[in-house]
């Protein structure tokens, strides 16, 4: 954050447009680079959630699967909050080998070489 951003915040002014441009570009390019249509991406998101839901109970409303891009590398990032039982344990629907599924984020890197 720059001095200017802080002053803008204090004065409740709109942020300078360059930062808006940067954010919008990052989003639109992640999609452009993925070569996946919105429909395909949606379908993939649904299927990923379905598969994961077979093993752990996830919060379908909070779950998010998105594309993020850095340095021309696009990553498919799934953030799937796992519901916990009252005693704080992760609730496994079916017994699975991985008893210590603690991180709630699954990442798979897709080397996007377009």
């Amino acid at each position: 954050m720059t001095l200017r951003d802080i002053i803008n915040k204090l004065l409740r002014r709109q942020p300078a447009s360059a930062s808006t441009a940067r954010e919008r570009l990052q989003l639109v390019l992640a999609h452009d680079r993925s070569d996946l249509s919105t429909e395909l991406l949606d379908q993939m998101r649904r299927e990923i959630l379905e598969v994961v839901a077979k093993y752990v109970e996830i919060d379908m409303d909070e779950g998010a699967v998105s594309l993020e891009t850095e340095d021309r590398m696009t990553a498919l990032v799934a953030n799937l909050p796992i519901k916990r039982t009252l005693n704080g344990q992760i609730k496994l629907i079916e017994p699975s080998q991985q008893q210590d599924v603690s991180p709630q984020t699954a990442e798979s890197i897709d080397k996007n070489s377009q």
Partner: protein
């Protein structure tokens, strides 16, 4: 006879960002450094490299007649009056678009390689056949863009295609930089654009009214107006292409005095 000719594609995706102006100015600058340079107008639909170089009245034959073997290459090449190291190979009739293939571009460029150190290919806008034909003939590329969302987005598409076609190195020229707007953070910064596109910077070109004056005259700035802000940028780019280590200008330094210092302070990163 040149053996290690560099064939450089000058492309952008979006139209009107400054490809042709860059091609003309780089052509003059490289020629001035004593390098035999050919500029090839590959924008067959909307040719105007001839106009920017002031050579429009001296065209007899074009790339079309060369390909159809109606003339020899040297009959079609138009030598620049003041910079005899520079030659233009003009684009033919727009109907060339109907039949020209990647192999035709390769054939033309291979002929040029025999005589020149540099071949600069002025690309059409877009990512369709015109661009792909031109890309087939090149080894390296300069992507021109402006610090604006649409231009950067289109540049990204082109970079994707260049990468899949193993064109390298690919370097960036950021054109129409307005230091004041950048200082006020109302324009994407140099770092923003190089980060987003993940390309090394070859140079930036300042927004400069003289560019228009020079196109009116058909005399690229690097020919006669070396003191204009954009002309310096163009000749720096030419020197960097030749491997010279020329520091980048800092747009913030382009404004001097208290106002600039204040703007710089405002840009200081706090967190």
């Amino acid at each position: 006879m040149a053996t290690d000719t560099r064939v450089i594609l000058i492309c952008s995706g979006k139209g009107g960002v400054g490809k042709t102006t860059l091609t003309a100015n780089l052509g003059i600058s490289l020629a001035r450094q004593g390098l035999a340079t050919a500029v090839l107008d590959a924008d067959f639909g909307l040719r105007n490299l001839d106009l920017l170089l002031g050579l429009e009245n001296r065209i007899v034959y074009t790339a079309q007649e060369v390909l159809e073997e109606e003339c020899r290459l040297d009959q079609a090449l138009v030598k620049h009056k003041q910079e005899s190291n520079l030659s233009l190979l003009p684009a033919g009739n727009p109907r060339m678009l109907d039949w020209i293939k990647p192999d035709d571009m390769k054939k033309i460029v291979n002929m040029l390689k025999d005589q020149f150190n540099y071949v600069l290919i002025d690309c059409p806008a877009g990512v369709e056949d015109g661009f792909k034909n031109a890309m087939a003939a090149a080894q390296e590329a300069i992507v021109v863009t402006n610090p604006e969302v649409s231009a950067v987005r289109d540049a990204d598409r082109v970079i994707g295609l260049l990468n899949t076609n193993s064109i390298k190195p690919v370097k960036l020229v950021l054109n129409r930089v307005r230091p004041k707007m950048m200082a006020n953070q109302e324009m994407l910064s140099i770092d923003d654009v190089t980060d987003i596109l993940a390309l090394p910077l070859l140079g930036l070109v300042l927004e400069d009214e003289q560019v228009i004056v020079s196109t009116n005259r058909g005399e690229p700035l690097t020919l006669n107006s070396l003191n204009s802000p954009a002309a310096k940028c163009y000749s720096n780019i030419a020197k960097r292409l030749q491997g010279e280590d020329i520091p980048f200008i800092d747009p913030a330094e382009e404004n001097s005095g208290f106002a600039a210092k204040f703007r710089k302070l405002m840009q200081t990163k706090i967190f």
